[in-house]
Symmetry: C2
Subunit: 356 residues, 2 copies
């Protein structure tokens, strides 16, 4: 009884939703009907997907009638309320929020790493990881499979679009406000003052100026001074890789980049691993691209890889003082593999159960 499943995109108008419609339109068409769903404010808008015009529907229980797969990209509290409603009406929900990720009855899936987990979903819910964790997971999963990952020390360089459309808008606003002033960024507080003068008390999604600055904060405050994003990186990496006792320390920092998260990773394995080993494994990983030839200026940067699907790895070095350890630099588009693409790939795994 093969048939093309009906798909619903919840949060179709957001930063990730927009990329999601692009991605679904450009990949193999495995769906029957596609419904676009958003808040009541956006209902009635006409958006394109697969080249067709689709009228956005307001989120309501009835929009899930007949839906086989629902991809949610909405705030945590909206997911908490609506994901169980959709799942209860029979849809397999792929949820991008943090709400269900650590639920033992909800698999947390990266298709390159643990695709089999997507089939075991007692609550009818599959979670997709935080964008920062996802930036490195395809690469670290491939290395782990052969060398056994034991420890990760990570520092992030996170793009502003990780905070949604408002994040990108804020960086563009700040850059416009400060451009042309060739003294700014040289005196304590001058960036804040210039932004206050030019932009007034405009709301920023960030706790400090993000143009001409870096901000060591992402998420909400947790015990011990940790930011939620730093703990997600630890807990989600453990769950995805299936390593309960993986040692992880992370410091998450926002940088003035529109899209594409980068991570400096110090990774310790069970066995000795050389740079050549890492090159061989990562070059064989279908969704990883190795850019690692510093003699010729080749290493990944966000500006060079944004808008594309792979995970890019460069600057692979064998640690001089730490056994079985590599230092490396990873870049991944936080709206694509970090969000929409990973959800779309999970949806395709589920769709294959209908059509396969």
């Amino acid at each position: 009884m093969s048939r093309k499943p009906t798909l619903a995109l919840i949060g179709a108008t957001g930063a990730v939703g927009t990329v999601m419609r692009d991605i679904i339109s450009s990949r193999e068409d495995v769906y029957g009907e596609i419904r676009l769903v958003a808040s009541a404010r956006s209902a009635g808008k006409v958006l394109q997907v697969r080249g067709e015009n689709v009228v956005v529907q307001a989120l309501a229980p009835e929009v899930f009638d007949g839906v086989d797969i629902a991809i949610f990209d909405v705030p945590d509290e909206v997911s908490a309320e609506w994901v169980p409603i959709a799942a209860g009406r029979g849809a397999v929900v792929i949820d991008k929020s943090g709400t269900f990720r650590m639920d033992p009855e909800v698999p947390l899936v990266v298709p390159e790493v643990n695709p089999e987990a997507a089939r075991n979903r007692p609550r009818n819910i599959i979670s997709t990881p935080n964008c920062t964790t996802l930036s490195m997971m395809a690469a670290m999963g491939a290395l782990h499979e052969q060398y056994g990952l034991r420890e990760l020390v990570v520092a992030s360089y996170q793009a502003v679009s990780g905070a949604g459309v408002a994040g990108s808008a804020r960086l563009y606003d700040e850059v416009e406000a400060l451009a042309g002033d060739r003294t700014v960024g040289q005196t304590a507080g001058d960036v804040r003052k210039a932004l206050q003068n030019k932009l007034g008390d405009g709301e920023s999604p960030f706790p400090a100026p993000v143009a001409f600055n870096v901000v060591p904060w992402a998420g909400s405050l947790k015990e011990g001074g940790w930011a939620s994003e730093e703990l997600k990186l630890r807990n989600e990496s453990r769950k995805i890789l299936g390593i309960d006792d993986l040692k992880v320390s992370a410091t998450c920092v926002r940088v003035p980049v529109i899209t594409t998260h980068s991570l400096a990773v110090h990774a310790t394995f069970e066995r000795e691993i050389t740079v050549a080993d890492a090159h061989r494994i990562l070059e064989a990983a279908p969704t990883v691209v190795v850019m690692d030839d510093p003699a010729n200026g080749v290493y990944p940067t966000p500006a060079d890889v944004v808008g594309t699907d792979p995970t890019y790895v460069g600057r692979i070095r064998q640690a001089l003082d730490f056994p079985n350890t590599l230092d490396l630099f990873v870049c991944g588009d936080n709206l694509r593999k970090g969000a929409a693409l990973n959800a779309a790939e999970i949806a395709e795994l589920v769709a294959a159960e209908f059509t396969g």
Copy 2:
């Protein structure tokens, strides 16, 4: 026979030289004559120091006649040639270049950490560390003194002025060229293309766009794929702290910040250390400021501390999975403590031998 020593500043017109003149003008006046020296191109210029106009002299052996202390801030190859000439003519040379830092007969000095080393200078030369190393040294030195540092895993967020006046000019140029385009930074290579269109083939001191980007490279290529800046951080930390077997791994990354380097530091000690221990020690360190109250949005960012002298530390967390380990975030002005200020402080140590 107390007298005020004669000081010469070599490289008086550069990014660090400019800050050096400001710093010397604002600190206690411990010098007799001050001479300003630069390349022949800048000779004859009139610059201010201590409120006086001083004519810049061209670098020549005779400018060192009668000089007691000479601070060099010039490229490595200029230091290699001229520092021994100045030292041979009797000046105590404080050299900011990388040329002599690892010479066992040249002390590498951070006045808060190893002031006594400045007195043992068989070649009449004292080196001052790389700006990235210096960004964390006052803080790490204080913690090491009480808890015994064993391991450092560091990721840097390095400001463009680390590459001199040309570095700052390039970021201002790039920001001006890209401001107002609210699509840039969303497609692979679009930043490069826009810069090429607006700025042409203008030379950049960086190997990739630095606006709306981060670039995982600083310095020159060394064995094993390491960048020279990453190895300096390792080797200089060992020498300053006097820990021959300190384990260090660093990844150095340039970010679009004008001035002030930041470091995400994962530091392992001999003994158990709590966040409260670190607060107590760092708050007692005279040149360190603790900004660590994330519940109230308090942590250091470059824009908030640039242009000031201290080393700022925040986001201090006890690592969840690594014993005796803290994760923290450090900011320091790379032109002040990272360069000019540290050299000025060493010069004052030496000046005290004349006046004290």
